[in-house]
């Protein structure tokens, strides 16, 4: 096992990694920007090094500064957390060229799964279902109808050079396909100077299901069940749970197996997530691989009893997996609320600044991962998540009840937070029955219309 590692991140996940290291007996070197100099979690590190100014580019995204810190602190490995450099293949490469272990998959794997087209190819090669679509761009209207027929309506028309929702249309039959195609082509031409469009099946009322996987360097790969992250606003997850209320045991095995095949085909090791879109008929489609630990990893920890961050270190240190697939048992139900310093009433605008009072809930079934405390000043430079409130109970209904009382207990005085919104979501009948999809939040709680697709969900 490593003697000493550097944590190239901040906030909640930096604290989470320090906790894992302390329990494993690994010394920690925490790097920080000037904006985070007061953060309480830095006290738990064995060493702290200021690496730059508040702007992420000057500090947490500053590869030379982080590597220099790793070198002068003489660490054996770097944990990138999530965000920042976590899925930066170049950074992983630099680490290894400096003989510092990068806690994550190989740079090649990161690069391969980070490329959408390449990832789709790998998935198809591994017999992992992908969203059905046209084989490249569709040019003439005569073949369009035939292709659409093969894929099956409704059809999503997308600009080949597109992004941000522009050049997108949904068509539910042939007349609207042709109209939509012309409109999309015109819009794409105007926006991107390229009128090429392609077709994809539009998954209606899709659910976001992701599978946690762990793989070692010997090629053993297991999955730790799924998480349901269908409660999203603009592709930002708000609530995550495990297990998913919409999977049968058979479907669970099937989707878990697909995730393992995808990971194997990507030569994956360490912790990762394979994301799927699940339609109302129980079909699932590969979306993407997240080649890192995720914010919501903790709900999997709660239901499986596996400490994923500790396992990341064990794997990176060359140990074989300590579990086989049959050792992984999902027990009870876990739900996580992301507590963000945002004002849901004002289009979720960030609400940084001084937290005058911060009293986290406690008691049975409650886990709080947060780097905040009374008197902490949320810097305006980074993302607005100030903590994760999680519950673990025997049943989904009990978990919801515990989560509601925990949200009611949570005192956060100063910034506006997502707590009242989370409460409303948990009390919504669609959430209660588990009958919600990725459009749920925007449908009932958003001031903005639901996004046209969930393909780009991160």
């Amino acid at each position: 096992m490593f003697r000493r590692v550097l944590i190239a991140n901040r906030g909640e996940i930096a604290q989470r990694i320090i906790r894992a290291c302390r329990e494993l007996g690994i010394e920690t070197v925490a790097v920080y920007s000037e904006a985070d100099a007061d953060a309480l979690y830095l006290r738990q590190a064995d060493e702290t090094i200021c690496i730059g100014g508040a702007a992420s580019a000057d500090s947490y995204l500053n590869i030379p500064a982080i590597i220099a810190a790793a070198e002068i602190a003489d660490v054996e490995a770097i944990h990138p957390g999530y965000g920042f450099l976590a899925e930066n293949a170049h950074f992983a490469e630099v680490c290894r060229s400096c003989k510092i272990e990068f806690i994550g998959p190989d740079a090649d794997t990161i690069a391969a799964v980070g490329n959408k087209a390449r990832a789709r190819e790998i998935a198809m090669g591994a017999k992992v279902p992908v969203v059905p679509g046209s084989d490249g761009a569709v040019h003439d209207e005569s073949s369009a109808a035939k292709i659409a027929q093969e894929i099956g309506y409704p059809i999503m028309i997308k600009a080949s050079s597109g992004g941000g929702g522009r050049g997108m249309r949904v068509a539910s039959n042939e007349p609207s396909l042709l109209t939509g195609m012309r409109a999309a082509q015109a819009e794409a031409k105007a926006a991107f100077g390229d009128d090429a469009v392609y077709f994809e099946k539009f998954v209606e009322r899709g659910r976001h299901i992701e599978v946690q996987i762990l793989g070692d360097r010997s090629g053993n790969i297991i999955h730790l069940g799924e998480r349901d992250c269908s409660v999203q606003r603009r592709h930002q997850k708000l609530i995550e749970e495990a297990p998913s209320p919409s999977l049968t045991p058979r479907l669970r095995d099937k989707i878990g197996g697909a995730a393992v095949r995808m990971a194997k085909a990507s030569n994956y090791h360490n912790a990762g997530t394979v994301e799927f879109l699940l339609d109302t008929e129980g079909n699932f489609y590969f979306i993407e691989v997240n080649a890192r630990i995720q914010v919501e990893h903790s709900v999997t920890e709660l239901v499986t009893g596996v400490d994923l961050i500790q396992e990341q270190f064990r794997i990176a240190a060359g140990e074989d997996l300590r579990f086989r697939q049959k050792d992984i048992q999902v027990r009870g139900h876990a739900i996580e609320c992301r507590i963000n310093a945002e004002d849901p009433a004002r289009n979720f605008q960030p609400s940084p600044g001084m937290i005058n009072a911060f009293v986290p809930p406690g008691g049975p079934g409650v886990r709080v991962d947060s780097h905040c405390y009374s008197g902490y000043r949320i810097p305006p430079n980074y993302d607005s998540m100030i903590g994760k409130l999680m519950v673990h109970r025997n049943t989904r209904d009990e978990a919801i009840r515990t989560l509601l009382r925990a949200l009611d207990e949570f005192v956060i005085e100063g910034p506006k937070t997502t707590v009242p919104l989370q409460r409303d979501i948990l009390e919504h009948s669609d959430f209660r029955t588990g009958d919600h999809d990725t459009g749920f939040v925007e449908r009932y709680f958003g001031s903005h219309p639901p996004a046209v697709t969930s393909r780009e969900v991160g």
């Binding site: 007061d38 006290r43 738990q44 060493e47 200021c50 500064a65 220099a68 003489d74």
Partner: protein, 211 residues
């Protein structure tokens, strides 16, 4: 990562900041000094270990052999002794820390960064800057060299007169040697770092009396 003195330090040895003694070159970087040896029961908490490490580092740098701190407000007593004779880094400090207590979350968390911040802000801190003296801070993380090669003379020393573009040291980061320029004018009154020392972003390197 600072040379600011901690409260009520009684430094019983003379200071000497010019060069590192030969015997210490092979020692572990102060940034990753291991757990404080010889700590007695009850064990100080982890955050106190860090304080100790930093104190030991300050002592090492200044060749201080004994240090006593009695901070009544923090309920903290520390007594450190460094190895007698010429062993360099071999001496084990003695730590006595009864009733050690967690500091306030509102209070400075990190002895290093706090001292940096305070001195950068020009506040009137304990052991603060004399009037008309400014600090030159490190613009990056890395290993500082005072000369262009092990055989060469230091770029600057106490008394050196600085122009804006005077090279004052080199900081190595990722195998790249970065020449650091004064970016101010004046005369060096103190060198706060040693040759080969790791420095962090914002760390004070030199004290300068501006022209």
């Amino acid at each position: 990562m600072s040379t600011e003195s901690t409260p009520k330090e009684k430094e019983k040895a003379t200071e000497g900041t010019e060069t590192a003694p030969e015997g210490r070159t092979g020692a572990a970087s102060p940034l990753h000094s291991a757990d404080s040896p010889g700590s007695t029961n009850p064990q100080p908490a982890a955050m106190d270990l860090k304080l100790i490490r930093n104190l030991v580092r300050i002592m090492e740098r200044g060749e201080v052999n004994e240090l006593e701190i009695d901070d009544e407000k923090a309920g903290l007593r520390i007594h450190l002794k460094r190895g007698e004779g010429a062993q360099g880094s071999g001496g084990g400090p003695v730590v006595v820390m009864p009733g050690a207590q967690a500091p306030l979350p509102h209070a400075p968390i990190d002895i290093d960064s706090d001292a940096d911040r305070e001195s950068r802000g020009g506040g009137d801190v304990d052991g603060g800057l004399p009037d008309n003296v400014v600090e030159i801070h490190s613009p990056m993380v890395g290993t500082l060299y005072q000369a262009s090669s092990p055989e060469a003379e230091p770029f600057v020393g106490v008394g050196s007169v600085l122009e804006e573009d005077t090279v004052i040291c080199i900081i190595e980061a990722m195998k790249v040697m970065n020449e650091i320029k004064a970016e101010c004018t004046g005369k060096i009154v103190e060198v706060l770092v040693e040759n080969g020392e790791p420095v962090e972003y914002g760390q004070p390197l030199f004290l300068v009396a501006p022209r």
